[in-house]
Symmetry: C2
Subunit: 657 residues, 2 copies
């Protein structure tokens, strides 16, 4: 895909974008404000820009533009797709606009995607696949050599492949006599490697002929809401197919607590177990079909999920998870076969289930820690997985601490008046004209807005703070003389989009209650980090890198997340995003036994803190209930920006007049 530069004038800000990107998104990413409240359907007609050089797609024409405008080079930014290097001028129609040019704003900066790949593994000498295939041409039995079929197999492996102390499964044994004779005693055996030193390799499958090139693994992330699966080629390390589907347990409760309650009903546990297996089997069926592989060639499987999901998967009563003192059934799980719990793969397939740290820091987090390699770095790392729940891990190769934070669902749009999941029509990015207070809304799918998603919420609140529209307690400045700030039924709010610009036939606004919920959510997480650090005698500035996991991390603007005090303020280059950490960990352990070997050690090493039982937590939490925090000194970049902007805020009324 071609990349083009877009130069915004008079701001003189330049940004590189992919061919076909919308100009309005490019402006947002470059930190350039363009009034735009309709989300990009060309309805409001406010995002007029002049194309001075270069070419944009014809969609930029609109009935909102006169023929004269078009001839002058005007286009609507929300409809114009970049087709070459372009120079775009934002019309300067008043002194107000000129003053905006001096605003301190920062370009959008999302976390770099960072995943360890197969070649890295090989280079680092960490490629020990948990399952291997070996092709054998066995001597045929005679009267003088009529040892048993299994002895023939094992003796040959010992003599010719240096394989000793092999075990074999009952299933393989059952297949062996017929399979051996299918292609004249030419067979491929699948060998499962031991996880611990001194353990024994085990023959788990036998196939006729040479099938070495077909060796696959399945990695599954069981989320409370969604189940993702990947089919991995164990020869190339590639993910050949991926599929996600809703966790069928949703019908029995939205969150882990309601699921646990359901599991306590008669037959409830069995039901939830059956349902998650059905979901997994659907995902497995899809990825196997998508990748066009034979199910018998799937040799290994790994699953990661939070503690409740994992116990339900394994049909272990989760009832003590929700009762003080919050005891999970187990940390490490014993080795078993996927078919033991009715997962629809071959009976030979070993299933690794990621271990749990505690009732609320589960296998999904351990998988992320393993997949991201935190346990092997010397850098002090903050790992955050924000989804339905929020978990944090702090540490490095020498020590690891973790905690679950009661952040609530604000980051997934929950507890927010117009909150919604990150789906089409969600406002995901936002900018504001500091003088007119007109918004620039960017929605997912570039359609008229329906609501606000989690990352949108962060961007909105951060921007409102930077522009002095809200104070550090999240209260709206009631005194700015705009009808966008108003009181409805005793609650103050800022209107992001008027009714006629939305899909829902209502004004979409962000309320002080929404902001308050966000502050409590981010406060819970930030104070969780502080508490963990304090417990090991460190402070926030010791953090050397941040790794974000979870769908949330992919679209959040790092600088904005720091602005609201969700993340500590560090160089954004030091923030990485690994996507679905749980799925990543599951994938990585399909590729290398080093992870399986280390996971027990890492699990034992991870010290869990029950924040509600940790004395200093409440103090830290109270201190974090400000934007960005009681101590703004910890956020020097934000402090500088706000100070630079302060004179403008103070003069905005006079400028508007």
């Amino acid at each position: 895909m071609n990349r083009y530069s877009v130069l915004f004038l008079p701001h003189n800000k330049k940004i590189e974008v992919d061919e076909g990107s919308l100009l309005i998104q490019a402006a947002m990413d470059a930190g350039v404000h363009i009034n735009a409240s309709c989300g990009g359907e060309g309805i409001c007609g406010k995002c007029r820009v002049i194309i001075e050089e270069g070419r944009v797609g014809a969609e930029g024409f609109s009935e909102k533009l006169s023929r004269e405008d078009i001839e002058k080079g005007y286009r609507l930014a929300c409809l114009s797709k970049v087709e070459s290097d372009v120079t775009v001028r934002i019309p300067i129609e008043s002194k107000i606009d000129v003053s905006v040019l001096n605003l301190q704003s920062v370009p959008r900066k999302k976390a770099r995607i960072s995943q360890m790949n197969f070649d890295d593994l090989k280079e680092q000498g960490l490629f020990f696949p948990p399952v291997e295939k070996i092709y054998l041409e066995l001597p045929e039995p005679t009267h003088a050599d009529n040892k048993s079929d299994i002895s023939r197999l094992i003796d040959h492996l010992r003599a010719n492949h240096n394989e000793h102390q092999l075990q074999i499964t009952l299933q393989t044994m059952r297949k062996t006599p017929d399979v051996m004779r299918e292609e004249d005693f030419k067979v491929t055996v699948t060998i499962e490697r031991p996880v611990r030193d001194g353990g024994r390799s085990r023959i788990i499958n036998i196939q006729a002929g040479d099938t070495r090139e077909k060796n696959y693994a399945i990695a599954i992330d069981i989320g409370t809401t969604t189940v993702y699966g990947q089919l991995i080629d164990l020869i190339t390390g590639e993910a050949l197919a991926e599929y996600g589907d809703f966790n069928g347990q949703i019908s029995y409760g939205e969150d882990v607590i309601t699921r646990i309650m359901y599991a306590e009903k008669p037959e409830g546990l069995k039901r939830l177990h059956t349902v998650i297996i059905l979901t997994i089997n659907k995902v497995v069926g899809k990825i196997v079909k998508k990748a066009g592989v034979t199910i018998d060639d799937v040799s290994s499987m790994t699953v990661a999920g939070n503690t409740t999901m994992t116990q339900l998967l394994m049909e272990i009563n989760p009832k003590y998870i929700r009762r003080a003192p919050y005891v999970p059934a187990a940390n490490l799980y014993p080795p078993f076969r996927a078919s033991d719990i009715d997962i629809a793969v071959g009976r030979h397939v070993p299933l690794l289930v990621y271990p749990q740290i505690s009732s609320y820091v589960g296998g999904d987090i351990v998988a992320g820690v393993m997949g991201a390699g935190i346990y092997r770095t010397d850098k002090l790392t903050l790992y955050m997985d924000i989804g339905t729940n929020a978990e944090i891990v702090i540490g490095n190769q020498e020590w690891l601490t973790c905690a679950a934070c009661s952040a609530g669902p604000a980051f997934e749009g929950g507890g927010v008046k117009f909150g919604m999941r990150a789906a089409q029509g969600a406002i995901e990015d936002f900018s504001i004209d500091p003088i007119t207070l007109e918004p620039m809304n960017i929605t997912i799918g570039s359609v008229r807005p329906k609501g606000i998603c989690g990352s949108g919420l962060i961007n909105i609140v951060a921007t409102l703070l930077e522009m002095g529209v809200i104070d550090n307690r999240g209260k709206l400045n009631r005194d700015l003389g705009t009808d966008r700030i108003r009181e409805v039924e005793g609650v103050w709010e800022y209107v992001l989009a008027w009714r006629e610009m939305t899909q829902i036939d209502r004004d979409i606004a962000i309320t002080e209650t929404d902001i308050d919920n966000l502050i409590r959510a981010k406060g819970a997480i930030y104070s969780g980090c502080m508490t963990l650090l304090e417990e090991v005698g460190l402070t926030m500035d010791a953090i050397e890198q941040i790794i974000l996991a979870g769908g949330f991390g992919s679209c959040v603007d790092l600088e904005k997340a720091m602005t609201i005090g969700l993340l500590p303020e560090i160089d954004t280059e030091k923030v990485k995003f690994i996507g679905n950490g749980s799925l990543l960990g599951a994938k990585m352990s399909s590729l290398t036994n080093t992870i399986r070997k280390d996971v027990g050690k890492v699990t034992a090493m991870m010290t869990n803190f029950e924040l509600s039982e940790t004395a200093s937590y409440m103090d830290n939490y109270m201190a974090a209930l400000f934007l960005p925090h009681t101590s703004i000194g910890n956020f020097p970049r934000l402090k500088e920006r706000m100070e630079a902007n302060r004179s403008m805020w103070e003069s905005r009324k006079s400028l508007r007049k």
Copy 2:
């Protein structure tokens, strides 16, 4: 039970018997002949004896005896039960009778029952039970100590019971949360010990409270015809209950070959597998009920059976067992759970399946070798298991050889005109008046005869040989002037019981064809032994002890078995009988892991010979088709007896005149 002595006059032979023994059996055991052809129902009235001292039961009166006879002390031996020490005179009515007194005959000598017991095991330091129970009083979880339930368990075992590197099963994990809380965190765990050094112990069950005293194992012998089970108390080593039932597979074929053929039909393997599981479950149900134990307290299970039975049990296609070059699927089986193959015990129960040596020397033989301790003795031992098939093992702690012999079913009454299983009415013992050639038949149950069982056949043929009624090729002496020796439809036979003395309304006879079949059967076994010995450069006289296994061994008269050349002639004190060797081995390995540890080594050490492929076998076989053998020099005791008797045989015609 009281023991009394019985003195027979004028033979002056004394024997000790249990209270209530029949006089006729006592006479047989003492080597004293009394004419008696009706099997002991008092029909023929020939077995008149005089009670000179002591007391016998009132059943000895009979209408066959006149009042005068009774007053003189006459009784029928077949109805008289010993009630004190007695002196019994056999009426001497002619010179013939006197000459009989000088006959060389030997008292019945059955093999001593010899089984290693629990105390021996303990004394020899071999008592390492494969499953142990440990009682724990765990600290209850608190906020400060909310580790997972499994960690609580494992940490406690490590700290207080020196148990390290413990594994745990998924099933135990599932039960743990609820069971722990049932009796305030007081639990009993069942721990399965590793078989190999360096293996890990595994927690396989958890129960509320203290259940240490209830720990049981099940041992199963899967015979082609019969399945036996024992319930063993792992605290006392006692067998609390035993039960045997027909193998349900009998409906699908009498022997292993027809079973294999059935297994090759569509769904045949699955069907036979299901049927044997049903039989085992019935046996398990019976012994568990009989012993009055709770199924959850059964912690371990061992199964032994021949190769075909074992493959059917494990649902492994046995088709290559019956096709040259006769390849079994496997020798050793992997560890698995009894419930994996639907055996109705707890899901925690590990199942040990005894390994196979070859297609026709199976786990039943290995179990016998292990149970009898052959692999730990320095004595050169001949082990024989004669059932539907005959298998032999020769060796000691240094080496072991084995072979299956195609003996045919003669020892189970098959291929014999009036052959039958050892059931009520089977002639099981026999003596003959050397002059009159009148028989003394002893039947199982002391009822009129129905047929001849295996041990009866041996006793009859041996006695006929010793008395010169048949020659060393098994041919009847046609020239003895008795109507008991006759030709029917071209086949010569000796009539054991006339029609009116039998239950079947026909004369019961032994034919030359029957004798021929027995000679071929014993010849196959004896020559098998010779071949094995030759292969290691030894001869028969090297044998230092014989161990007999199988139901057959319990009632066979050792001296008679040597007379026909089934056993080599050694001191009968050196012959031991262990009963069902397969069941014994299964029981022993329930009690000690040393057997499980050694069994792999022993299996590897046992060299199997396919006799049909061993060059010298046919020569040895041809030489063994005589009574006792071409080389009578190997049977010095028999030779001496026969020489001593010869003059009487030769004079019998003149004596009779």
